[in-house]
């Protein structure tokens, strides 16, 4: 997909830049100590030359030792050869000078940091290749697999790994510059002063662009460090501000307090025998009382109940947790294992993110169609942090299936069916929350021209009846909505004979949710296909899941409470069955 290609290309270029910067020559230099084999590379060429130079100085120079010995021999043979010198054997240099040692440490550290960056860059390229690799399977399975990988990249610090490479290279550069400075100090102080000045200027320049980048996102001089600083500041600021600001205020006002106290002492000399309170204690004590009073009043204004305190703190400090085995009360799920529900919520959340992302970012028709199919099986609006369904995209996909005469384009019947099913599904789920909320997801206006054959015509017909009542009404009183839902409901439950099991499951699912939304004038859906006699037959050809859905609808109509957890699992069993059907198809064929 194009997004993945861009995504991988961006990181791949970063990694290639890193690898070019520290390419093989550095490594080859270490192994073979042959600078002639080095290729073009900025950092490698520079560092290899200096490291080679420094390496030779780590051991005593044999030429200097020989020259000293020859000088001693000459003086022994002819003491007048060099006036003022005695013929003594020069001491053998055992320890490397500290300046050379420091220089070597800095340069080798620079070298190893750059090597580490190269190593991580190579690993990063392997990870990117794995990300692009397809595991096979259907389009939906591939999308799911790809979404899992994408979420894995976001959850694990892959981005930080890649972003750390330039920082490592910058660190390597700094170490090299420091090493050079130290080396030149050892050789010549004048040259060293120039180098140190330029290095300091470079560091200051870097710090300034880091600060500038961190201060504003619009600043063009962005670096990984500035981005990290900015993000960290966003996280830390609300937490440390209440703590740091009072402390800073105290510190800043202390001189004033002290000055005031000294003035007070001067103007009011203490009586004999009276204890003079220390100004530090007094200032801190008054500050503590002020702080305590503010915290107390803040808490009293925010919370009205001890339970509200804990819940508010939980909401503010961390994301709402997924229900675990212990957090799901058994009375709500009399026959569902809590593990199933937790697993369902995880799967559902993953599907929500996957489908929303695909429909908002991808234009590949096959991927869009697969995602649209999945939309009709997902429980949307599960929690407050849930992603809004990509309703406009689905709506566009549906409208794109019809020509100017409102006839379905040949070959787009499936797409029209699944997109309309998704629209009805989202609309029904929104209606389960509230009718006002459902207004955000309005149904498409269908004309009679589009009504064709098969499952699509069934949905179109239902939509036509419902929207006819709704859009023709001048006011938006809920009575018109009621009539709309009753029409939708009535048309949907008379499932035509020619439809398949998947359609029956989805329709039963939809009816279940419409019933769960407590519509006032719902009729009892009779199960089965309508026969010529007006009754319903072939009950047993209906899938088990659809049957269970209808049972739950009946329970609702009979005022028996159906827990939402049951609906969730019912939905997902349908979705699971859908995927199982595809898998079975693959196995059998």
């Amino acid at each position: 997909m194009e997004y993945d290609a861009d995504y991988v290309k961006k990181y791949d270029e970063d990694l290639n830049t890193t690898l070019i910067f520290v390419r093989r020559p550095t490594l080859l230099f270490v192994l073979a100590a042959d600078p002639l084999t080095s290729q073009a590379g900025l950092f490698s060429a520079v560092s290899s030359a200096f490291v080679l130079d420094v390496q030779s100085k780590l051991q005593p120079d044999p030429n200097e030792q020989s020259a000293a010995l020859l000088r001693a021999i000459l003086l022994t043979l002819n003491q007048s050869a060099i006036p003022g010198e005695s013929p003594t054997v020069p001491p053998i240099q055992e320890n490397t000078p500290s300046g050379i040692t420091t220089t070597s440490c800095l340069m080798y550290a620079s070298l190893l940091v750059s090597l580490l960056a190269a190593f991580i860059a190579m690993l990063g390229k392997q990870w990117l290749n794995r990300y692009l690799r397809n595991t096979g399977g259907s389009m939906i399975e591939r999308c799911g697999d790809r979404q899992r990988k994408l979420e894995g990249l976001e959850r694990w610090p892959f981005h930080s790994f890649v972003e750390s490479l330039p920082m490592m290279l910058q660190l390597a550069l700094l170490l090299l510059a420091c090493g050079l400075c130290r080396q030149t100090i050892y050789i010549n102080t004048s040259v060293a002063s120039v180098l140190i000045t330029l290095t300091a200027l470079g560091v200051l320049f870097y710090l300034s662009i880091v600060i500038a980048g961190a201060s504003s996102y619009a600043c063009p001089f962005q670096t990984p460090v500035s981005t990290a600083l900015r993000n960290s500041w966003k996280e830390i600021r609300p937490r440390i501000t209440p703590v740091v600001l009072p402390i800073l205020r105290i510190i800043l006002r202390l001189p004033l307090k002290l000055a005031f106290w000294r003035r007070f002492q001067r103007s009011h000399p203490p009586n004999p025998g009276e204890d003079i309170p220390t100004p530090w204690f007094s200032a801190l004590y008054s500050r503590w009382w002020n702080l305590r009073w503010k915290i107390q009043s803040r808490i009293c204004a925010t919370f009205h109940h001890p339970l509200a305190i804990t819940s508010t703190l939980r909401c503010r400090l961390c994301r709402p947790p997924l229900p675990t085995d212990s957090s799901i009360p058994e009375k709500f799920t009399p026959w569902l294992a809590p593990k199933d529900l937790a697993a369902f919520l995880r799967t559902n959340g993953s599907d929500v993110r996957c489908v929303s992302w695909i429909l908002r970012n991808i234009t590949d028709p096959e991927a869009v169609e697969a995602a649209v199919r999945l939309v009709g099986t997902i429980r949307w609006f599960e929690d407050q942090a849930a992603i809004e369904p990509p309703y406009d995209e689905i709506f566009s996909a549906f409208e794109g299936c019809f020509d100017s005469t409102k006839e379905v384009y040949p070959g787009l019947e499936d797409r029209a069916y699944y997109s309309l099913r998704a629209i009805l599904w989202i609309h029904a789920l929104a209606n389960c929350r509230s009718r006002e909320f459902a207004r955000k997801f309005h149904l498409p206006i269908i004309s009679k021209v589009t009504l064709g054959q098969g499952g699509l015509s069934h949905l179109l017909n239902a939509c036509y009846k419902s929207t006819n009542g709704y859009y023709n009404s001048t006011n938006s009183h809920y009575n018109s909505i009621n009539s709309r839902y009753s029409d939708l409901f009535e048309t949907l439950y008379t499932t035509p004979r020619e439809t398949n099991h998947i359609h029956m499951r989805s329709v039963s699912n939809l009816i279940l949710h419409l019933a769960w939304a407590k519509q006032s004038d719902l009729q009892v859906p009779c199960i089965g296909y309508p026969d010529s006699a007006g009754g319903y037959g072939d009950w047993d050809t209906i899938p088990v899941d659809a049957t269970l859905n209808y049972f739950l609808v009946w329970c609702i109509l009979l005022d028996s409470p159906v827990e939402e957890e049951v609906l969730r699992i019912q939905d997902k069993s349908y979705a699971v069955s859908y995927f199982s059907l595809r898998v079975t198809h693959v196995i059998v064929h």
Partner: protein
């Protein structure tokens, strides 16, 4: 090779069977609650909702077309019947279709069951309220509803007749079902089963039953001697029943001849002694007067087996009279007697009578 859809359905059904059971149980509880707490209307913030009871017939009607209903639904439907009977006055006040609900519940519970399957046992919880069903079902029910009811009660009678009032409480209703003719195979089978399951009331039924009903049933040995663990009891009950019918006031004349033969065949395979049964000498006389020699042949075989000449004074003259008037029946009678002897009936005196008859027929010169 099975189609992928069927394979898939098979897999899914195995996974969802538990959920099916549980959701059906929830539906059962919902139905019980609706019947028990019959509220005319319910007020909600959205509006006024109709009585949920009005939805119930549609739901039950939908359930009736579900062929592969779980077995638990049968016991639950029987429970609904009890609640409907218990809450009948309230239901009629708020919703006038309580009878419809009762009949639909019976249909949901029993219509789909195989009436020939004797080994299927479904645990039914019988309550005192179920007795009220008898009047409603036999008065207003169709033949299929009556069959549903009989199916339920024969099911009860198989296993719990000593703990709960069973079919004998509706014995008086079974004798007067001629208006339902011709009987459907299901109703016919269930009526035969019901008569065979009425225990000590069987003679009362035998005395009161309409001969039109018996003619409509056309019972044969295969209907009675079915593969069942309680075949002996069932057969003995039927033999007892036929004996009562034959010795009733009009039984001699109005009972069809196949039932006479059936009686002999049942007797030939029965282990019951019938020694305590009162012998009515009027039967032989009536048959002789009416010159119904075939029926008389059957009856003589029966009397020889049960009472013998010691218990029935007019047996030997009647036998000789039969041989004299209808010589063709001799061989048939002899065959029956042999069959009865093989089953353990002591009919030695009949042999001597046969020898005497042979002498009379052949004459003194016959070797």
């Amino acid at each position: 090779m099975p189609s992928p859809i069927s394979l898939f359905e098979l897999l899914m059904s195995s996974f969802t069977s538990d959920r099916l059971e549980r959701i059906t149980a929830q539906l059962h509880q919902a139905i019980i609650t609706v019947i028990t707490v019959s509220i005319p209307h319910r007020q909600t913030p959205i509006g006024v909702f109709e009585n949920p009871l009005r939805s119930l017939p549609d739901i039950l009607r939908s359930l009736t077309v579900w062929k592969s209903r779980p077995r638990s639904l049968t016991s639950w439907a029987y429970e609904w019947c009890s609640v409907i009977c218990e809450r009948c006055p309230d239901l009629e006040a708020n919703y006038s279709g309580s009878r419809e609900l009762l009949f639909l519940s019976l249909e949901v519970g029993f219509r789909h069951l195989d009436f020939r399957a004797k080994h299927e046992y479904i645990r039914l919880t019988h309550t005192e309220h179920h007795r009220r069903m008898v009047d409603v079902v036999f008065k207003h029910g169709t033949d299929e509803v009556i069959a549903d009811f009989l199916h339920a009660w024969t099911q009860l009678g198989q296993h719990s007749c000593y703990q709960h009032p069973s079919l004998h409480t509706c014995a008086s209703r079974l004798v007067d079902l001629q208006h339902l003719q011709p009987f459907s195979p299901r109703l016919r089978h269930l009526l035969i089963s019901s008569i065979g399951s009425t225990k000590h009331k069987v003679r009362q039924i035998g005395n009161e039953i309409s001969f039109d009903v018996l003619d409509g049933l056309r019972v044969c040995v295969e209907d009675i001697c079915v593969e069942d663990f309680r075949v002996d009891e069932f057969r003995d009950n039927w033999a007892d029943f036929l004996l009562s019918v034959i010795q009733s006031v009009d039984g001699t004349h109005f009972l069809s001849y196949p039932y006479w033969e059936l009686m002999v065949e049942l007797l030939a395979s029965s282990t019951m002694s019938f020694r305590g049964t009162i012998y009515s000498p009027l039967v032989i006389g009536s048959l002789e007067d009416a010159r119904e020699w075939h029926k008389l042949g059957c009856w003589i075989a029966i009397v020889w087996a049960i009472w013998g000449p010691d218990g029935a004074a007019n047996l030997e003259p009647a036998t000789l009279s039969l041989f004299h008037n209808q010589p063709g029946t001799f061989q048939k009678l002899e065959r029956w007697i042999e069959a009865l002897q093989r089953r353990g009936w002591n009919i030695e005196q009949f042999q001597s009578l046969c020898e005497q008859r042979n002498l009379n027929v052949a004459g003194p010169d016959t070797p």
